[in-house]
Subunit: 156 residues, 2 copies
DNA sequence: ATGGAAGGTGAAGTTGACTTCAAGTCAAGG
DNA sequence: CCTTGACTTGAAGTCAACTTCACCTTCCAT
């Protein structure tokens, strides 16, 4: 039986990780994962790629770009297998990132509540349309909206 | 003085709204805003466009796509000037959307806390890499991650 | 009347994260 | 040996939301 091989084909990794084969090749090009090759040129991934991919998916879920993921992965030791402490260190910084995102959304929600009350939606004063604008009301406001939710108010 | 005109040029709207002129033209093409034209073909926006743009920015900040914004704006009455109640109705639905996003992020954060504890990052069982996976642990989990944070786990 | 800032257009470019395609190659069960 | 499914590559396509470009026209203060 070939049920438990030492290395995995793209298809196997795709099945186990949930990433499409094309994504795995893409990640390899970006250097996020690496694979050896058979004599015929086909990829053979070490099983450790699954943990790496789990990290990548989690990071993506939190909103990191692949560039940021790459930077994080670059801090892993090359020589030895990453330990639990290594992974923990990497994911610890996500905590504050998530806190920031949550705080941003909560600020937005609070602003929304006041907007529903006043119906203003004023460009200059409404917290909803100016979530990060220091002119919005004096308070620091939603200083840390997740990047996906942030919109520059102006930049001229 | 021409300080307070009845209509506004793209440049003026851009300055007051914070949207780039190119974005305003784009929005006009999509039908999100409309403008009359001078005999020479230049746009002249009614002042009411500023409120519309405030709505658009707020909606975008919350994560709506322009398609969704268009759908929301389409429910405004064409005949009369939208009232405060109209705008309020539109923004009320955002509240639950924000709540969902916040809940999703909080679930992610809780999962992260447990992951930091266990260092697992297991593809099959870790809440971080499987935030919406019903197999993640039995609980409903982070059922409603914001679209920007959602990633299909697999679809084959 | 005029000069230069501001505005007009359609087409193409940008970014991020992939996917899809075309055309050919490898691996392994029968 | 042969078939067939899985794999290979580079290039191009996709999506959202705009921006940039090239080139031409309009507006209005002097």
């Amino acid at each position: 039986m070939a049920g438990t091989a030492e290395t995995l084909t793209v298809g196997q990794v795709a099945d186990r990780s949930g990433f499409a084969p094309s994504a795995l090749r893409y990640y390899e090009r970006l250097g996020l994962v690496s694979a050896s090759r058979t004599t015929g040129g086909q990829r053979r991934f070490p099983r450790s790629v699954l943990r790496r991919l789990a990290f990548i998916r989690a990071a993506r879920n939190i909103g990191l770009t692949l560039d940021e993921v790459a930077a994080a992965l670059a801090t892993l030791p090359e020589a030895r297998t990453p330990t639990r402490a290594d992974w923990t260190r990497l994911s610890r910084s996500w905590r504050s990132r998530l806190d920031e995102q949550i705080a941003g959304l909560e600020a937005l929600r609070d602003g929304l509540d006041s907007c529903i009350g006043c119906g203003c939606l004023s460009l200059r004063t409404c917290a909803m349309s100016n979530p990060a604008d220091r002119a919005a009301g004096g308070g620091p406001g939603a200083a840390f909206l997740p990047r996906t939710l942030r919109r520059p108010t102006a930049d001229t």
